[in-house]
């Protein structure tokens, strides 16, 4: 393989071996700003959260004398894990993922395959229009959809005959906002990957008599597997963090409780109940769950080596 087309990990020795150096001043100076910020805003907070999660506060009954903080070991963790509200938050996320990921991934894959076919008119316009919702902040996307869900206000509900009561079903209501926000983003990723599929492979398929549908499903989709894996990974991590959209929709959809997702549970623990130990413990559990899930997704989808399609000339 020639230089410039390999992945970062395998170029390192080749690039740096040329000039042996005694000092590491330059790389240290270049990496230091990131490392300092990363330590201060990621490593230390996590460490501090783990530390806090081991303590609990005992308030004195009369409110005088304040409260005392005592070491509680894994008490907060057992408390949080035993809490029905916290576990039902994970159930919500589970249902959300089961509904959201297949719908969103299938939709963006189908749209990118259609865009990749030779039959499309106004391709740039379509691509940009699909992507545009991603430029809308989650808060505003949820605000807009809250209006569009409300009977009497919404032209969509009116057009559907007024009988649609989506606010009574929070899960599809939230899933729809997420699908709206993320489909176009993932279309861009899939479409770029499809563009990188070698033309001669596709020509060979046509020569072999494969129709467009067959080519799409048996040739194109398997060839962009690594993109699918990355999208699945980031979608799972994103789903676990669900907070903004349900929080905004809470005002309109009474089915969304203050602990509807794990993040909402942690927020309520910290700011409504002032229980920092429980908040810290649930944040740590969430972070661990995300890391574990990412690991599983990465392992499950990495059967073939990653391909590199984006290189400099």
């Amino acid at each position: 393989m020639t230089t410039g087309t390999t992945s970062p990990t395998d170029t390192a020795p080749a690039r740096t071996g040329r000039r042996p150096r005694g000092r590491y001043g330059a790389p240290a100076a270049l990496i230091a700003p990131f490392l300092v910020l990363f330590t201060a805003c990621t490593l230390v907070p996590i460490g501090y959260a783990v530390w806090l999660s081991l303590f609990t506060e005992h308030r004195s009954g009369l409110g005088f004398g304040g409260s005392t903080t005592v070491f509680d070991g894994i008490g907060n963790y057992t408390h949080v894990l035993a809490d029905h509200a916290f576990r039902s938050g994970f159930v919500t996320i589970g249902c959300y993922v089961v509904l959201y990921i297949p719908v969103m991934v299938a939709l963006s894959l189908a749209l990118s395959l259609l865009l990749d076919s030779a039959l499309v008119r106004a391709r740039r316009f379509v691509q940009l229009s699909l992507f545009l919702p991603h430029a809308v902040p989650g808060v505003i996307a949820a605000l807009i959809w809250a209006f569009l869900y409300t009977p009497g206000v919404s032209p969509v509900v009116a057009a559907l005959g007024g009988g649609l009561n989506i606010l009574g079903h929070p899960l599809p209501a939230v899933v729809n906002v997420a699908v709206w926000e993320w489909t176009g983003y993932n279309v861009v990723i899939f479409y770029a990957a499809l563009q990188a599929v070698p033309r001669e492979v596709l020509e060979a398929a046509v020569v072999d008599g494969a129709g467009p549908l067959r080519t799409a499903l048996s040739i194109k989709v398997p060839l962009i597997r690594s993109s699918l894996a990355v999208v699945a990974l980031f979608t799972v991590i994103g789903s676990l963090q669900l907070f903004t959209e349900p929080t905004i929709l809470q005002g309109a959809a009474p089915g969304i409780t203050s602990s509807w997702t794990p993040n909402m549970f942690a927020w309520t623990a910290a700011f409504t109940n002032d229980d920092y130990g429980v908040a810290a413990a649930s944040s740590v559990i969430l972070a661990v769950a995300a890391a574990a899930l990412s690991f599983v997704v990465t392992r499950a989808t990495r059967n073939r080596p990653a391909r590199r399609t984006e290189t400099a000339a």
């Binding site: 690039r15 330059a26 865009l115 989650g138």
Partner: protein, 302 residues
């Protein structure tokens, strides 16, 4: 910038049963069906934005009445005036805050990431790959799972409810470092660096005057990523800030939205304010298309 696939031998064709057909015109998916399906998707994505545009000039009664298409009832000027004067004109302060958080924060973050990514790619030092592994692990930690721990730490240190409590965490983006390393590998040829060193340029000088320039497209891509992420961020400012004068625009709109049940006159402010808050991002994305596409594809096609 080119998007070229590494030359790959076409797969060995199965030559078993059928000989070479002449290429058939695809009939299954006709052109009109393809375009109709895409058109439907475009309607889905644009409809809510069209609603936002049409609803922004309405007053409270018309907004809640759902009558969008009567131009005689449009009062955009009145709504903008309301936006400029509500709560002592705080909306434009929120807007300015967002520009500061996202603009300055995005620029500094892109610089920090580019420096680190360049150093990871170009330099050798002990423990490099272990350190990079730590960065990759950082990519997997959900940002909202970090927000509460950051709040707990910030309240211990006493910086809760300050500009810095929102600004500093937004300078960190491990994924940006990863992306920058990919860009450094693609854009900065080793020969150029070698030539600079032969000419006697120091390492930092080489980075500043050569590496950084060559990585400019990557820099812009990381900047756009981070600008959007900060502009859209809701959880961190919600956790950190209680002084409404420090709010970014998303948090400000949320705080107004929570009051609409008691004070319906906030409805038009929320809608018009949302439209104004969306505009800068839409403009940035349309104008800088080629940069974010480069960033997204470099990061995820791999």
């Amino acid at each position: 910038m080119t998007t070229l696939a590494p030359p790959r031998p076409a797969r060995q064709r199965r030559t078993a049963d059928h000989g070479p057909h002449p290429a058939r015109r695809p009939r299954l998916l006709s052109s009109s069906a393809v375009n109709a399906a895409l058109g439907l998707a475009v309607v889905y994505t644009l409809l809510p934005l069209a609603w936002l545009v049409l609803a922004s000039p309405l007053n409270t009664t018309d907004l809640l009445g759902g009558d969008l298409f009567d131009p005689s009832r449009w009062h955009l000027a009145a709504n903008l005036h309301g936006l400029a004067t509500a709560d002592g004109g705080i909306y434009f302060r929120w807007f300015l805050n967002s520009l500061l958080y996202a603009g300055i924060g995005g620029l500094l973050c892109a610089l920090v990431c580019t420096c680190a990514g360049y150093a990871f790619e170009v330099h050798a030092f002990p423990g490099k790959e272990k350190l990079f592994g730590l960065v990759l692990l950082g990519v997997l930690v959900p940002t909202t799972a970090l927000a509460l721990p950051m709040y707990l730490l910030a309240s211990k240190v006493g910086v809760v409810n300050t500009f810095w409590a929102v600004f500093l965490p937004s300078l960190v983006n491990p994924f940006g470092v990863y992306l920058s390393r990919v860009f450094a590998g693609g854009y900065v040829p080793g020969e150029v660096l070698e030539a600079a060193r032969m000419d006697g340029a120091g390492e930092l000088r080489t980075f500043w005057s050569i590496g950084l320039r060559m990585m400019l497209p990557g820099f812009v891509a990381v900047f756009l990523f981070q600008f959007t992420a900060i502009w859209n961020n809701f959880f961190l400012p919600l956790v950190m800030l209680s002084d409404s004068r420090l709010y970014p625009v998303s948090l400000g709109l949320y705080s107004w939205d929570t009051q609409t049940h008691a004070f319906p006159e906030f409805y038009p402010l929320v809608v018009t304010g949302s439209l104004l808050a969306v505009l800068p991002l839409v403009v940035a994305f349309v104008a800088l298309q080629r940069f974010w596409k480069a960033g997204m594809t470099a990061g995820s096609v791999k």
